[in-house]
Amino acid sequence: MTSGMKWRSIAPAAAAALLVLLFVGRAGRPWVEFGPQQRVITTNPKMGVHTRLTDEVEPWKIQRTFEMVREMGATWVVEYFLWAAHEPQRGVYDWSHADLVVDHAVNQGLTVIARLGYVPEWARPKDATHLYLDEEGYAAFARFAAAFARHFEGRVHYIIVWNEPNLSQEWGYRRPDPAEYTQLLRAAYAAIKAEAPQIQVLGGALAPTLAPAGSEWAMDDLVYLQGMYDAGAKDAFDILAAHAYGWTFAADAEPGRDSVNWRRVELLREIMVQNGDGDKQVMITEGGWNDHPRWTKAVRPAQRVANSVAAYDMVLGSWPWVDAVCLWAFRYPRPARTYQDYYTFVDGDFRPKPIYEALQRYAAGQDWRGDQ
């Protein structure tokens, strides 16, 4: 699955949300009590989820999201921070919504992995998509990434540079080019490190895809990663961000260059080792299974639960080279009304789905099957 799926609809809603928060933010931050510092109790400290709070307006929902993530037993969260929202004018920063998100996550004892992207109008040609950034804009993005690192130093320790650049759509409908992405990554890496050397920079975040050579829409993620190394990316990231979707395969299904499944991430790891990068860690920043009744890449709900438990367990027990695994997606602010709703762990009203309850039991060291 192309993970970009989840962000297509957020721009106008995010803009509206941020307007509301700007207004409220001027009066301080009285909207919810943060409460005492919490900590996650879990048997699997690598367990995480990708939250989706970019266009979540109400502070209590942001807080409730992170409370429920903690209560499920997950330690890590990936969240998306929109360059366009946080630097609406060149050099003018607005961190109000991002502060709210990060502070609530930290208050719940969670570790934030910040994904940066989404180009402001002032940094791209007129009528280009919000994911279009050519070489002329790389320095501007790097300055934003540095400003983000400076502002969140001590609260955010991991930054992902861009998302799924091996998809044409995520690359502003330019042909995916690992050398160009490496240029962007190198610029952002240097800028972040200059501000906050201890922040770990994640590169890649490639979409698992079997796109044929020469496709105008996408480039095979394995080919793309090698292309990044060929372009000199080795010194431009600290950790590889990977996306690991299982589709219809069980978590333990054998990986292969012609298969998209959970263990395809092992092939990414092989490429790292082949390029002398075996000492680097991997973080799975998207992934998981879908249980829609009719989508051909979905499994049954019980299979989704079993696969997810197995995946978290595999990372904990057998993949020492993976630090964190954040499955897509904890909750959508509003229903997508497509098969995408069947990736979530709780519904829009925070009702836990069976997978939430099973993972909660798993993280607590209980029999995750419960009485189902």
């Binding site: 799926m5 409908y173 009719r294 051909t296 709900p301």
Partner: protein
């Protein structure tokens, strides 16, 4: 040289057109879809090409205009952006209406209602959700149907027993076999259920979810002719035929 470079950049940025005039000049309507969602679009195991309700609908619409349809296969999540950026002329792929995207794209009149419905056995006295009090309601575990059922219990204070089943088919089997008094499922799963003929929906959809054709926001002429074509296909019975062909009970 400078002009040429500027032209190339503009091409990359704006894509390949998509207004009615450009489509007519090209003689081909480029329709994006993700062939992973039967019975709307899926790869035919024999031919390898995309087949389904949406494929037939796309061809039927373009036939109204006397031009051909070219199916462009894309990931579902790419479709709206691909339309907005004129990478394709339209998307027909079991797409819902997304109010938050109306700055970028426009949504046609609906051609299928795919929401969550209340199903009962034919001849049941149940006439709607209000009658569910004290009844047993089958749902697919973790589905939108289950969420709608829980919302009914919590928000409408209708007290009924929830009977979760592992799949939507098993939920409908429970209803057909009399183990449940009703089922709350999505309308498409009900339509293609093997024993759908023994069941009926009652009341309005609990969750309305119409599927529509998506066109670029800056091509109002295209939206108009798409809606005109949908109306024409509805009037002459073509749309009914297409729906009947693809939204029918699966053989037992």
């Amino acid at each position: 040289m400078l002009l040429l470079a500027a032209g190339l950049i503009l091409f990359v940025v704006l894509g390949r057109g998509g207004t009615l005039k450009e489509i007519q000049a090209r003689g081909v309507w480029r329709v994006g879809m993700d062939p992973s969602f039967p019975p709307f679009e899926n790869y035919d195991p024999v031919t390898g090409g995309p087949v389904g309700l949406d494929v037939e609908l796309a061809h039927a619409i373009s036939e109204q205009w006397g031009i051909k349809t070219e199916i462009v296969t894309l990931g579902f999540d790419e479709l709206i952006d691909a339309v907005a950026a004129h990478q394709v002329d339209a998307a027909i792929s079991a797409m819902p209406i997304l109010p938050e995207r109306t700055e970028d794209v426009r949504f046609s009149d609906p051609y299928v209602q795919a929401g969550v419905v209340l199903a009962v056995r034919k001849g049941s006295d149940l006439a709607g959700p209000a009658g569910l009090s004290g009844q047993g309601v089958a749902v697919e575990w973790g589905s939108q149907g289950e969420a709608a059922a829980r919302a009914l219990r919590e928000n409408e204070s209708i007290a009924f027993e929830l009977l979760p089943r592992e799949t939507v088919t098993l939920a409908l089997d429970a209803l057909a076999a009399g183990e449940a008094d009703a089922a709350i499922v999505d309308a498409i799963s009900l339509a293609i259920y093997t024993h759908a003929g023994e069941l009926a929906t009652v009341g309005e959809p609990l969750v309305s979810d119409p599927y529509v054709v998506v066109v670029p926001a800056d091509a109002p002429d295209l939206l108009k002719v798409v809606n005109d074509a949908l109306r024409a296909l509805e009037s002459d019975g073509t749309l009914d035929e297409i729906r009947a062909r693809w939204l029918r009970p699966a053989p037992s």
